[in-house]
Amino acid sequence: MAGLRLEGVRTRVLRPIDLELAAGELVFVSGPSGSGKSLLLRAVADLDPHEGEVWLDGTARSSLPAPQWRRRVGLLPAESHWWGDKVSDHFPGALGKRWTPSPFLPGSSEGGAGGSVRDDSAPTHSISAPAANRDSEAAPPSDLLTLFEWLGFGREVLDWSVARLSTGERQRLALARLLANGPEALLLDEATANLDPPNRERAEAIIENYRSERRAPVLWVSHDPDQRRRLGGRRLVISDGLLVPES
C-alpha cells in the first residue's frame, strides 16, 4: 500500500498543490503547454528547488536521501536521454524480485509469450541474423527480456547503438529502463506521445500491468484526451495555476 501524497508542492508557475494518490491509483494531468505540468512532476521527483513535501507510503521525502527517493518515485521525462553508447549500458541488472511482468502479452491472445510481438510494427533493423549462438556473454535475465518482448523488442536490442534508435524506440526503451529500476510510484510525462498506435497500446498495457501488479500510484501527464478517457482514472487539469478536476 504505497500511496503518494503531495503537500503544498509549489513550483515556479503553480500555486501550492495538495494531491493524494492511493496505492495503484491512476491520475491524469493535462493543461496547456507552459502551464507547469512537467515542472510539477520534476518537483515531485525533487529535481528542481521548490517548496512543499511529498510522502510515499507514509515516508516523507525529506527523510530519505535524494537518490533513494528518485529511485522509488520514477519519473519518465518527455524526452529521454542516454549517457552510454549501447542500449545495454543503461540496463545494469536484472529486474530481480522487484517485478516480473505477468505472462500475457498486450494485443495478443493470452499466454503467447512467443513470437506475436515481432510483428510489422517492430523496428526494421530488429530482426537480423540469429546472433544468439555466438553470444558468449552471460544471458540477460529473463524478466528483462520479457519486458523487452512486451515493448516489441528482441534480446538483441541490448546490443543496439543508442545513436541509431528512432524517437519511438527511445521512448519505449526509456520506459523499459525506468520500469527495470522498480519504482514504487510512476510519474509519466507524455509517456506515449511519440508512439504509433500498436506501440502505444503496448506501452499503455505494460504501464497498466505495472500499476495493478505493483499497486503503484501513477501520475500521468498526457495531452491525448482519448488516452485519458480510455484508461480511466482521475482526470485533473491545470488552469490558472491551480489543479482542478477536468470537466
Partner: protein, 267 residues
Amino acid sequence: MSLIILSPWDLALASSLVLLLAFMSWRLHLGVERRVLIAAARSTVQLTLLGLVLKVLFTQTSLPLIGLLALVMLLVAGWEVMARQERRYRGVWGMGIGTLSMFLSSFSVTLLALFVIIGVEPWYQPQYLIPLLGMLLGNTMSGIAIALDNLTRNAWEARGRIEARLLLGADWDDAIADIRRDALRSGLIPIVNAMATAGIVSLPGMMTGQILAGSPPMEAAKYQLMIMFLISAGTGLGSVAAVWIGSRRLFDDRERLRLDRLVPART
C-alpha cells in the same frame, strides 16, 4: 661566460616585431591587433614592475613582503582563471574555486620544493621562492582554467544525460563521473605534452633562461627537470581539487543539478 646586458634599444628593436604583427593583423583583418598591443603593453608594465619589486625584495628578504607578493600573484591567477570561463560560478565561487585549488596545489608543492628538495636557507629566500611559485602558479592556472571550463561547459550541454541518471537513482558523483573525468584529462594534457616534447621540440623557458645567464647546461637541465615534475604534480593536484569542488558545487544538498549556479561570461 657572463650575461650580456640588454639595453632599452635592444628591447625596442624586439618590440618592433610585435608592432609588425599588429600591423599584419590590421591589414589582414584578423581583428586581434588591439589585443596583441594591449597584451604586449601589459607584459611590459608587469615585468618591469616585477623586476623592480624583486630588486627590493632580494635586498630585504622580509617574509611579510614576500607573502604579500605571493598573495597578489595568487589573486591575479584566480582572477585569470575566472576570466577564462565561458560559464562561471555565481558569487564568490567564481573566483573562489580556482583560487583555492591553486593555493592548495601551488603553495604546497612550492613549499615542498623549498624545504625538502632544494633545501633553501631560509626557506623564503625570494630568489628561489618567487620564481618557483610563479612558474607553478602560471602552469596550474592554465590547467585549472581548462579543466573548469571543460567541466562547466560539458555539464551545461549534458544536462539531460545527467538528470536522466539522477532520475534512475544515481547519486551526484556517478551522474557526473564521465564529465568530470574528461575535464580532468583536458586539464592535464598540456603539461603531459610539454613533458613529452621537452628538449626535443621545445627548449623550456626556464632552462633557456639559465643557459643564457651562464649556467652549465647540465645544471640547467636538472633544474628544468625538477620544475617539470613539480609543475605536473601541481597541475594535477590543482585540477583534481578544482574539478572536485566545481562538480560538487553543480549539485545542491538534495543532489539536484543546479546549472542556475552558473552564469554566462559577459563578452
